[in-house]
Each structure stands twice: as structure tokens, then as C-alpha cells.
Subunit: 227 residues, 4 copies
DNA sequence: CATGAATGAGTGTTCATTCAT
DNA sequence: CATGAATGAACACTCATTCAT
């Protein structure tokens, strides 16, 4: 039921090797790298496994990507950076309440990232950024900043339209980001090992989390502005 | 400014070796292990570094701890498991609103774990549980379950006293857990590298997050029960 | 005078590294492994020594052989298993008395195995099988069973032709095997250290042993069948 | 059914520690050493295991025995060297045919050594003499020479009394020694792993071997003297 | 272009032996 | 005397990266 099925690694691509057009090599490698990085993390992923999974030799991989880190960066660019353009456009033309917009934000994130194997990338970054500072900086620029900008836009819109209380944009953004980060972390770590005991249904969590974000726990809220 | 200053590792304990009182070796090693595990993570931490940091030889370390994993488990038991007893008692006798209780919960967690180097432990687990399933299971039993039970108690109390809306305990708990996990993950990964650019003040984040958890973003909440 | 000159290990192959024809690496490693295993035994042989003796790095060795045990198995296959085919054929077409056949058996064993460094392999197995059960099982299937079958064939032939007394095949086989095992054990252990004091000439031992096996110590034998 | 039951190691001596008279320490250690050396061999035996099995600390062991090798030598002196005195006396007064004497020799060896755990000692020596030349020399002087002298005495007696053919004493002795060495080697190595497949009954082997030694395989022996 | 072949620098873990108390 | 405590030197196995062909 989980997205992260380690066994999928055992069935390599086999892209009918002989017939492929030449330019597909890097593409195959990136696809394989995505799978292996997600399954093992950055440090624990073995370049040899990526190459094998892509159906090329280790040396070939280094023809296209100068180092493991560069390969990873390219994986990020291909799988995440590209998404922000369409999100930006969708947000540009969004109509409806800001509650709906937040709802849409979380749900489309879930459909396009959270529920797919790509969710392994943010998990990997949060896990290993400390040991690979270059990756951290890269990811911050490439993903976090544009992502946060999008979330910030929703909050600002909500405040502008009087739907949301006045709140600090930066920290408000983190408040929306937190459950997303939590979800990918949980799914790819403890959730992966304990889902039999206490299964966690992500969709359910997101729904509830959205409700709480909008209305809070309390029965009789004291409305104040937060700064 | 950050708790996690990698360079601190370069100045080993030097506990004036010869004069030590008995029984201090395991304690030294555990302290060193905490530092190194936090600085490097589990897989990347080298046993030799831990030993050196503790001022003992690698072989000595293995006299007291049969394996790297066992050493880590002991670190967890020493630094986290022990806390739940006092938390349990405090919660037993807590008086005041459930809002205050949630506030107290997040703040005492922040003071005792979140703001200290011990916060590196939950970060490490979320990061590496996937690659070390044994540790995942151990941590789930030893920390997550008792921790979640404590949070659940607050929510139940809030509902019982009519302060909180009716909500699903399990997912409500995750809603409280999420910002804590987010915070430690952020601090120990991207935050560590990007604090110069866009500094994040954890205390501020927690305050705001608490407000949102209680009252939500919205100006005019629609009160419903969530299940 | 001894086959097993430990010092020969100190002069590695030096196969003028760069000029080698392809496919020679595994062969070099197997040759080196044979030497080192014989000189040190299985447990005491260091993989690094084998690599050095073969003129390659430790890592290279593991490119070709996944583990020390696998390397050893391959050594056995290359040096012993292969012999049984020719022996089988020779036995098929043997003409002459069964006494001659037994004589031929012991002597060709001596020339092809016993007197060569390969004799170190059975010695090693008898010595270390207890500590490495996998190797024991492997060797039993790969060497002992086919070897015993050959010996059994001779005894059966002798009985069929009325040359030998009726005797239990299994234990009769052990009776022939015993002096061979004794000889390799002795040569590679005590004999190696005490040959100056009381030299033992293997050829002489085998001749005498054969005579005893055929005719016994006694001057006036009481002929009975043994079961 | 086997003499060599590794599990026996799991039940340490427990010599009611507190009540023992002091002089028993070395005795306990020697007893423990015998067990462990037999179970693991010399190199693979861990001093710590011996100490634990004897109920003393590793350091205490080194108070009584300056090194692992010295401990082993003492084990040999205690368990084997001592036997030769009684054997020598028995042989002095033996009456009966030399065939009977050889029979008695093999059988009493089997009862006192071969079938007991002490048989692990000659096995160990044959296995590891090459790597520990000191032990080889020691064992040769302490055991092999007196043992061979005893066997030689029987053969000489047989020749003197006209019961045996004329044969070279040294090699004749090896002919008797061979099945004994074979038996202990087999029992403690391959036999230990393959007894389920093709069980070997030592008593049966010895009986048969004795018969062959005396009368040979052949139905119509050609009697000659062997030199 | 693609790769077979090779490796240096690690890693966690083991064990006989020493020595101050 | 007895031991708790400590360790140096090994050792099997790994992996990102290089380079000649």
C-alpha cells in the first residue's frame, strides 16, 4: 500500500537496451537515480545500484554527471523545480475563498508530490542536508524559496480579503509547511515501519490538519491578530 | 548561535584521564556519542570519533557497548526515555485550562528537548529510521508511543471539559506532533544552512503555531466537530 | 626439501602489471589464494596477503570473488574437483589386477595431489571444517563423495574378481583413505617441523602402507570375510 | 551422540565459587581450557571464554599461565603425557599374541583418548602445528615420540616372536598411527558435519582397520618381508 | 561514446595481553 | 592474590571515483 516499495528496485528498467536512441541515457539515469535516492537516501544510495537500475555502467554514469551530488541536483531540477511554474499560474488565476485556496494548495501538493514517490526528495533533503551543505543551499534556492512564496501568497490573499486574521507571513508559511514536512518525514521513516501497528492515513491527516489550521481546536476562539 | 556547532567536536573532553572516579567511562562515552550522533547522524557517525571524543580507545567503547546500535539505544534511553516519567507526573497534577496545558506541553518540550542538543535525536530517527528498521521500532516503542499518549491526554481533557471541539485523538495528536517534528527537522537541516538568509526563531514559530492550533487562521470560524 | 616453503610468499608474482593479457586477474588471484591458504590455513590467511601476492589490491580481489569463502571454494573447484573426471576415465579402462589398481590409485594421487602443494587443501579442510561448516559441506560434496566413490569402485572390483576378501565398502574405503589423510596431515603439520629429527619419506610410507593394506602384518593370516 | 557437543560450553563449571580451596584455580582453568581448545581449536579459542568457563577473570588466567601457548602446553601435559606411564607398564607385562597386543593397543587408545573429548588435542595439533611451530615441537617430544615408541615395541615384539613379517619399524609405526590420526581428524571435522548423511561408527572402523592391518585385503597373500 | 578494470581510504568489530589497584 | 579496565593491531568487506581502451 506504501509508495515506497523497496522491492521495486529488484525489477530494473530494461528499456529494451539496444533500441534506445542515444539521448535517452541521461534520462534513464535520472529516472533510476530518483528511485534509488528515494529508496536509500543520498549517502546510502550506491552509484553502482543507480547505474545498474538504469542499465548502464558505473563509468557511463560519470560521463553524464560529474559526481553523485551533481546527479542528485539534476534529479531535483527535473522532478520538483519544474512544478512551480504551473503552480504559479494556477495560483494566479485562482478564484474562490482563501480557505478553498489553502485546501487546493495542500491537496494538489498531495496529489503531485506527497502521495508520489517524489515525496522521497524533500524527505531526503531534510534528512541529509546537514551532512551535505551544498545540497541544502541548492535545495533552499531551488525549492523552498519558491514554495514558500506560493504559500505566502495564499496567506496574504486571505488577509487582504479579510478572511484570515493578520499574521506574520514568514511564520504563517511555516505553519502550513510543517504538516507537509511532517507527513513526508513520517511516511518515509517511522510510518514505514509502524503502519501495521497504528496506520496513519495521510489524506485523513491532511483533511484534519487543514480544518485545524483554519479553525483551531477551540470551541470558542478568542480572535486576535498575531504578529 | 545554533545549538549544533559541528566544530565543538574538535575539542575532546580530556577528562584528566588518570584521576577519574570509577563508573565514569560509560557516562563519558554516552555523552560523546550523543554529540557525535547529533552532529553526523547514525550511519555517518564513526565509532572511532565517538571514542576519541570520549577520550577512550575504540576497543574500550566496545567493552561497554556491544555494537553501535546498542550504544545509540542507550543514548536514547538516557536522554529521552527518562523524561516521560516527570512529564507524566506533571500532567497528572496539571490545573488550568487545556489551552494552557497545550501551551505548557509545547513549551516544556521546547525547553527540555527542542532547544537542546537532544533534539538531534528525534531528527536522526526521522532521518534514518528507514535504513535502520531496528532503531525505528525501538524508538517507536520507547519514545513515540509514550509521547503520543501524553499529547492525547491533553486533547482528551480538552474535549472532556468542553474546551476543545470533538476530534479524532490519533490524528489530533499528529497535528500537535507535526510542528515539533518540523521544528527539529528544520533546525538540524535547512535551518542550519540558511539561518543567515531567512532566520527562523523557534520560540516565535511555536507561539504562532500554538495560536493557530487553538484558533486557526480564519476570522469567522465555522465550528464543527471533526472525526 | 618441503613443498611448503612459507618464505616463498615473500616474493610476490610481479607479473609486469601493465602488460597482462585480459582475463588473467582472476587466475592470478586463484593462484595466489592457493599459495596463501596452504601456507596459513583458511582462518589465518589474510585476504590482503592474497591480494598482494597476486599483485592486485584488496578491492580488486573482491571484484572477482564476493567473499573469502567463495574464493576458497573456487580454489577447490579449480584444483581438485577437475581431477575426478580424468580419474574416472582412467579407472573405467583400467586393466590389470586390483592390487595394481590400488597401487595405481595411491601413486597417481600422490603424484597429482599428495606430493604437490595442492595437498594443502585437504589438510586445510580437515583442520578447519569444524569452524567453517559451510566449507565442510561443500568439500564433502565436491571432493570426498566422488573420491570415495572411486576408491569404492576398486574395492568392489577386487571383490567381484575374487582378488579381495568380502568387506564392507564404506569402511574399506575409509581404510584406504586413512593413510592419504594421515600423510597430508603429517606433512603439513608435525612433519613440517620434525623432518630434521626423524624424516618421513612419503613415497616409502605409501609403498609400505600399500603392502600392509594388501597383505597385513601377519605371517600366517587367517582368512575370513569382514563385514 | 558426538563427543564434541559445542553446547556443553553453555553450561559453565560453576564450581561453587566461594567454597573452593585456593589451589584449585589452576585446575579449573586447565579443565576449562581443555573444553574450549577442543571445541574451537587453538587460534579460534578465546582466552576470555576459557576464563569465563573456569569462573575466573581473564587477568587471573594470566597470573597462572604466562600466555595462551603455555596454557595449552600445560593442558597437554595434564591430559596426555601422564597416560604414557601406565601404558608403558601395561605393555611391559602384556601376555598374549602380538595380534592381541595390537588389538589391545588400539582399543585402549580408543577408550582412553579416541572416544573421549581428549581426542580433540591431537586433532588440534595436527590442524594447527603449522601455524604454531613451538606447539608442534613440544607435542612431538611430549606425545608423538613416546607414543610411537610404544607402537614400535609391539611391532618389534611381533617380529621377534615370528608373528609379524619383517618390516621397517618407523614406517610400520606410521601404519598403525595413521588410522588413529585419521579417526580423530575425521570425527572432529567432516564427520561432525556429515554424520547424518553417511554416519561413520568409529568402533567399527577400528575393528575393520585392525583386521586389514593384520591380514590385508587379499585373499591369497604373497608373503614377503618389507623393508 | 561507453565501459571494464582497478583502487585508496575507510568502517565496525575482535582479542591477547598489560597493569594499577 | 585477583581483577576491572584499557588498548593496539588486525581484518573482512565497501564504494565513489578514475582512466586506458
Amino acid at each position: 500500500m506504501s509508495i515506497i516499495t523497496q522491492n521495486s528496485l529488484l525489477t530494473p528498467h530494461d528499456p529494451t537496451k539496444r533500441v534506445r536512441r542515444k539521448e535517452s541515457r541521461p534520462h534513464d539515469i535520472l529516472a533510476a537515480a530518483l528511485d534509488i535516492f528515494i529508496a536509500k537516501g543520498f549517502a546510502a544510495a550506491r552509484v553502482e545500484d543507480i547505474a545498474k537500475h538504469a542499465g548502464v555502467s558505473k563509468a557511463t554514469l560519470f560521463v553524464y554527471f560529474s559526481a553523485k551530488e551533481e546527479l542528485f541536483k539534476e534529479v531535483v531540477r527535473n522532478n520538483i523545480s519544474t512544478r512551480f511554474i504551473e503552480w504559479g499560474e494556477e495560483f494566479e488565476h485562482f478564484e474562490g475563498t482563501s480557505c478553498d485556496m489553502l485546501h487546493y494548495c495542500l491537496n494538489s501538493w498531495w496529489q503531485r508530490i506527497g502521495s508520489t514517490k517524489v515525496s522521497g526528495i524533500p524527505k531526503l533533503i531534510m534528512s541529509e542536508a546537514h551532512n551535505f551543505p551544498d545540497l541544502a543551499v541548492f535545495y533552499h534556492q531551488e525549492v523552498i524559496q519558491p514554495g514558500n512564496a506560493l504559500i505566502g501568497r495564499i496567506l496574504q490573499r486571505g488577509m487582504d480579503r479579510g478572511e484570515f486574521r493578520q499574521l506574520d507571513l514568514q511564520y504563517g508559511t511555516y505553519t502550513v509547511l510543517a504538516p507537509m514536512i511532517f507527513l513526508v518525514m513520517w511516511q518515509h521513516s517511522l510510518g514505514h515501519c509502524t503502519n501495521q501497528l497504528t496506520p496513519m492515513m495521510p489524506q485523513r491527516f491532511l483533511d484534519m490538519q487543514l480544518d485545524i489550521l483554519l479553525y483551531g481546536f477551540c470551541t470558542s476562539p478568542t480572535l486576535t491578530s498575531i504578529s
